[in-house]
């Protein structure tokens, strides 16, 4: 691969991966905060308002990092992927501009009111501000997913006289079948992140025997919503995503599943390291005929392996794609088990005393982040070698005059800056958890006193 192309790909991959750590919690938490605010309004119990305020503080820190790391994303289409922008900007610029116009204005206007205006707005007004922030963040998610879905499965376009891609159907772009399923799947992933974080921090409070009423609320909310989301994640949304890939990106499906040879009654690979050179899996652990059944509902159905496709149509990072996919599916399955078990214990009234389960919930906090990241890596590595599936190769999309040296310069800059941001984020969120949901008399312990301790 050309050095500049390599650098540009890594540049986007790094900045988007880091960025998406924040919006997934924002979107998931926004839903849960609306739930808490609704409970507060319905029951009139101040407990729910205090819970909502605690999560609003964490939401605020998280949102700020989502905003500052999000701005570079839109810019990078032009700076690093100019040829792509020039060719396809008339189409994907639409959804990206709509995100700014319809969701960012909404979110940014009401977030300040939500975070700082509770007194001014009153109970109902504040509930509305929470709802509008939720709507804004979920709309934003849709426009981004629609943009990506168009790159996965382009719709509503024609090719113009100079090879540029021209929009021909607005609704074709916006209501792309791929976008609808990918959105549902993606948002459930975000909800799971919100649920695991909420339940995990609740479990932490229960295990350390502090703020226990809040701990119970957090665990209960996280587990109930999380169990539902974990199931829907697999079926129908994950299942449909798989079927869409089988239909539109068959070479990708083969690479994801580690199927090198076309087979009738193909097995589902659970474990095994792909050896792309020799076209085989090392020490495979497989469920016979399962892949055929899952994809086509027939035990003997033929699944096309990579050998059915010319090598230049293979995704160019097969091993990484295979692992991303397996990590995502593996974790998704574990989530159903963890959340399902916790939900049963909750139903039986034993969850708050079952220490091992609370421990499990607490240490699971990073897991949905890994699963969401792996999911996006599956989608984007699976799209390779295409930038726009079937229309434009990734190698043809980069900025022709931005060399590897300048790209590495800015990539290293982002890496350094994001490392500092990550440390600050963890520090500030940890501080909020430490301060806890109980109303504070002052603005909380000060840094000097924390350090002095």
């Amino acid at each position: 691969m050309e050095p500049a192309l390599e650098a540009h790909r890594l540049h986007f991959a790094f900045t988007i991966t880091f960025h998406y750590l924040f919006p997934q919690l924002t979107m998931g938490l926004a839903l849960l905060i609306v739930y808490l605010k609704t409970q507060a309004l319905r029951t009139g119990d101040e407990h729910y308002n205090r819970s909502a305020r605690f999560w609003a503080r964490i939401f605020g820190i998280n949102f700020a990092l989502g905003v500052v790391t999000g701005i570079p994303m839109e810019f990078q289409f032009g700076t690093n992927w100019a040829e792509f922008s020039k060719t396809a900007g008339g189409v994907i610029g639409q959804t990206l501009a709509m995100e700014g116009v319809f969701s960012f204005f909404l979110e940014s206007s009401f977030l300040g009111l939500f975070l700082y205006g509770e007194k001014k707005l009153g109970r109902i007004g504040h509930w509305w501000s929470a709802v509008l922030v939720f709507v804004g963040s979920w709309l934003s998610g849709y426009f981004i997913v629609a943009t990506d879905a168009w790159m996965q499965n382009p719709t509503g376009y024609v090719i113009g006289p100079h090879g540029e891609i021209v929009l021909s159907s607005f609704w074709g772009l916006l209501l792309n079948r791929w976008a609808l399923w990918q959105y549902a799947h993606n948002m459930l992933g975000a909800v799971q992140t919100g649920c695991f974080v909420m339940a995990g921090i609740g479990a932490f409070y229960l295990l350390t025997k502090r703020d226990e009423p809040y701990g119970k609320t957090f665990v209960r909310t996280g587990v109930i919503v999380g169990a539902i989301a974990a199931c829907l994640q697999l079926f129908p949304t994950g299942d449909m995503q798989g079927k869409l890939i089988a239909e539109y990106q068959p070479a990708t499906l083969a690479a994801m599943e580690g199927v090198f040879r076309t087979e009738e009654g193909a097995p589902l690979v659970i474990l095994g390291q792909p050896d792309v050179q020799n076209r085989k899996l090392d020490n495979p652990l497989q469920v016979p005929r399962m892949l055929s059944f899952l994809t086509y509902q027939k035990w003997a159905a033929k699944v096309k392996g990579l050998d059915s496709f010319p090598q230049e149509l293979w995704p160019d990072r097969i091993a990484l794609l295979y692992y991303s996919y397996h990590v995502m599916v593996g974790l998704g399955t574990i989530f159903i088990a963890v959340m399902g078990l916790a939900a049963i214990l909750l139903w039986r009234g034993k969850l708050y005393e079952t220490k091992w389960m609370l421990w499990l919930l607490m240490i699971s906090i990073p897991m949905p982040y890994i699963a969401n990241t792996a999911g996006w890596m599956t989608a984007e590595l699976g799209r390779q070698p295409w930038l726009i599936y079937g229309l434009m190769r990734t190698a043809h999309g980069v900025s022709p005059q931005v060399g590897a040296g300048n790209t590495w310069f800015t990539l290293i800059g982002f890496m350094g800056m994001y490392t500092v941001l990550a440390i600050l984020f963890l520090f500030l969120v940890w501080r909020e958890i430490e301060i806890g949901p109980e109303p504070r008399k002052t603005a909380g312990p000060e840094l000097d006193s924390l350090v002095a301790d």
């Binding site: 305020r53 922008s85 020039k86 189409v91 990206l96 501009a97 116009v101 204005f105 900025s399 501080r431």
Partner: protein
């Protein structure tokens, strides 16, 4: 159709400069007009609930530019690669500084963020000015619609220009002065007591610098970019735009003397609008002039397909009505001078 979008993008950029301009300016004077922690909290509170929304105009304008003029987005953004990345870093630093500063009160926490907030705001103003200078001066486009500028070459206006040369630095300094005044007038309007008074003094001093720099930049621009003069000759009604700028600038001085804080700020808005629209008017139909005029990108050569532009007009108009509604509501609920007591949720318990 492309002329409509040319105007709409210009309006969005102008709104971005007017809105984010005052919070950038407030940042640039932060360390100088506010000395105690309480005063600094006042400056931050004067932009706190709105700065993020203001910055969204940059994203919305960028997105609109993207789908209306994809070739311009591609050419300009990849050509201005280095300064844009630095602008992004500064925006990240600045956003973090504003949001994180008030989380902890400590002798090693808030002074650091105050400094970063001020420094990044200051540099952003200069960068934006230099960017505008680059666009007006023209860039070394080749026939493919691309170029790449290093940060500087020899600081002259030759064939191979850099981002920085004597002209773009000059425009950068003017932009800094203009946003310092704009921000100072905002802070003067929105804060009470000594911060307000110091801001008025800063604005008064910046005013003189702006008068001198505006004259200088205008004179050099006519020489550097002949299209500007040609456009004003072709469409003499365009002279109304520089007249608005001059009237705005005079208005600032007049209202400062009368101590009408609100009107002084709006006069500054008129000045900025007049200057920006004059520049945009002077470049039309070019959207990115080339050092070699034959390679300039124009509204026609950079535009997207007609259907996309038409359908965009519908949702864009709807979105703008909504955005105008949010902003009216937001700025209304935030009217009057800031009072840093009781503006956070902690005090509700």
């Amino acid at each position: 159709m492309e002329t409509i979008w040319f105007c709409l993008v210009a309006v969005m950029v102008a709104l971005y400069v007017l809105l984010d301009g005052f919070d950038l300016g407030a940042g640039a004077i932060h360390l100088f007009v506010a000395r105690t922690d309480e005063e600094r909290r006042q400056v931050l509170a004067s932009i706190g609930p709105v700065w993020d929304g203001n910055e969204v105009w940059l994203l919305a304008a960028g997105g609109t530019l993207y789908f209306a003029f994809p070739a311009l987005y591609a050419g300009a953004f990849s050509g201005f690669y280095l300064p844009l990345m630095m602008v992004l870093w500064l925006l990240i630093l600045r956003g973090t500084a504003i949001e994180f500063r008030n989380h902890i009160k400590s002798a090693v926490w808030d002074p650091l963020w105050d400094f970063l907030f001020c420094a990044s705001s200051l540099l952003l103003a200069v960068f934006y000015g230099a960017a505008l200078g680059n666009v007006v001066r023209g860039v070394p486009l080749d026939g493919s619609g691309y170029f790449f500028e290093p940060l500087w070459t020899n600081f002259r206006l030759g064939e191979q220009t850099g981002i920085l040369d004597w002209y773009t630095v000059l425009v950068g300094v003017l932009a800094l002065a203009a946003l310092v005044m704009h921000g100072a007038l905002w802070v003067q309007w929105k804060t009470p007591g000594p911060v307000s008074e110091r801001s008025a003094r800063v604005a008064g001093r910046a005013w003189w610098a702006i008068v001198a720099l505006t004259a200088l930049v205008t004179a050099t621009t006519f020489r550097i970019q002949p299209q500007v003069l040609a456009n004003f000759k072709t469409w003499p009604w365009g002279f109304i735009l520089p007249v608005v700028a001059v009237a705005g600038l005079a208005g600032v001085k007049f209202e400062l003397a009368r101590k009408d804080e609100r009107k002084a700020f709006f006069a500054s808005c008129a000045y900025l609008t007049g200057m920006l629209t004059s520049a945009v008017f002077g470049l039309y139909p070019m959207v990115l002039p080339g050092r070699n005029p034959a390679y300039s990108l124009t509204t026609t050569s950079a535009k997207a397909g007609l259907y996309g532009l038409q359908v965009g007009l519908i949702w864009w108009a709807m979105g703008m009505v909504l955005a105008a509604g949010y902003f009216t509501y937001l700025y209304r609920s935030f009217a009057g001078k800031v009072n840093i007591e009781g503006d956070s949720h902690e005090s509700d318990d």
